[in-house]
């Protein structure tokens, strides 16, 4: 009986450890404008929109993503997205402005999610994605 108990215990410990090492996954919830109710297609009134373009640029042999809110003239590195959106909010842009992220087709998904995360952090309530 003892060898059997040993083996069973080993199997149990293996399963317990392998379950523990699984990563906890988190989720960014979409906050695109909702319809007014079931069966309607009318979208609630959005006072203002802000288009934010995203593109990839080859610089010094490496690809880098840049963003450009329509209110600004120059393209800025995507890793500064948090600062850019925080500055836009500090500059008087209200939280109900609909931010439309418009990435080009070759922009990595990671950079798109980073920009989306930055919008949420800057407390923009309506964020949407435009098709590539």
């Amino acid at each position: 009986m003892t060898p059997m108990v040993d083996i069973v215990m080993c199997i149990l410990i293996f399963f317990m450890l392998s379950m523990t090492f699984a990563k906890t996954e988190l989720f960014l919830t979409s906050n695109t404008p909702q319809t007014k109710g079931p069966g309607t297609t009318q979208v609630q009134e959005i006072p203002r929109r802000l288009m934010v373009e995203m593109k990839q640029v080859l610089r010094d042999g490496a690809r880098q993503t840049f963003v450009k809110p329509e209110s600004q003239a120059e393209w800025l590195p995507a890793d500064q997205a948090r600062l850019i959106f925080a500055q836009l909010r500090a500059g008087g842009l209200s939280d109900d402005v609909m931010v439309i992220l418009s990435p080009q087709s070759d922009v990595p998904y990671n950079d798109v999610i980073n920009a989306y995360d930055a919008c949420i952090e800057a407390k923009f309530r309506n964020v949407a994605f435009s098709p590539a």
Binding site: M16, L26, F27, P103, S105, Y109, N110, F129, A132
Partner: protein, 166 residues
């Protein structure tokens, strides 16, 4: 016999391990089934990192969509040119991903149809998108468009917790 011979009665020194084995077996079966269930819905993908992501409280009405980079075609091409060398694709971004729902592959063209059917089966469905962080947006965009066509409003993007360096 021991009593009749004037010897001290012998106690059974073996511990009864039957309940222990029962419990342990139940635990093993539980872990094995849980492992299988999780494997069917969640493919191994490197998801993006985000600071503002949260755990989903409600575990009901969830539909996972996995966008897994498909290396097989590129690897096959490389195997033709040089079968002795196994090369990792230089740019995995250009690869077309496999779309997996309930552990099965779904064609990109059929996504609106499949999502519409899922939505019909479960009107309160919430869509959980799990896509590789290095995939191009051109592969994510059709999925978002398909969700809009299927009238799915509750979309969640799977991420890992980004550790703040500040």
């Amino acid at each position: 016999v021991a009593k009749r011979r004037g010897l001290a009665p012998q106690h059974d020194e073996h511990v009864n391990v039957t309940p222990l084995i029962d419990i342990v077996m139940c635990l093993i079966i539980f872990f094995m089934i849980c492992g299988k269930l999780v494997q069917a819905d969640v493919a191994p993908i490197e998801v993006p990192k985000a600071k503002k992501a949260q755990e989903l409280e409600d575990q009901k009405n969830r539909l996972f969509i996995n966008l897994v980079p498909d290396y097989t075609e590129k690897v096959r091409e490389q195997a033709k040119t040089n079968p002795r060398v196994y090369l990792i694709p230089e740019n995995k971004l250009e690869l077309k991903p496999l779309v997996q729902i309930h552990g099965k592959n779904v064609e990109f063209d059929k996504l609106p149809e499949v999502l519409r059917a899922e939505k019909k089966d479960n009107p309160d469905m919430r869509l959980l998108i799990r896509a590789d962080r290095d995939l191009h947006y051109k592969w994510i965009s059709p999925l978002i468009v398909s969700c809009a066509k299927a009238d799915i409003k509750s979309i969640h993007f799977a991420t890992e917790q980004e550790v703040s360096t500040e």
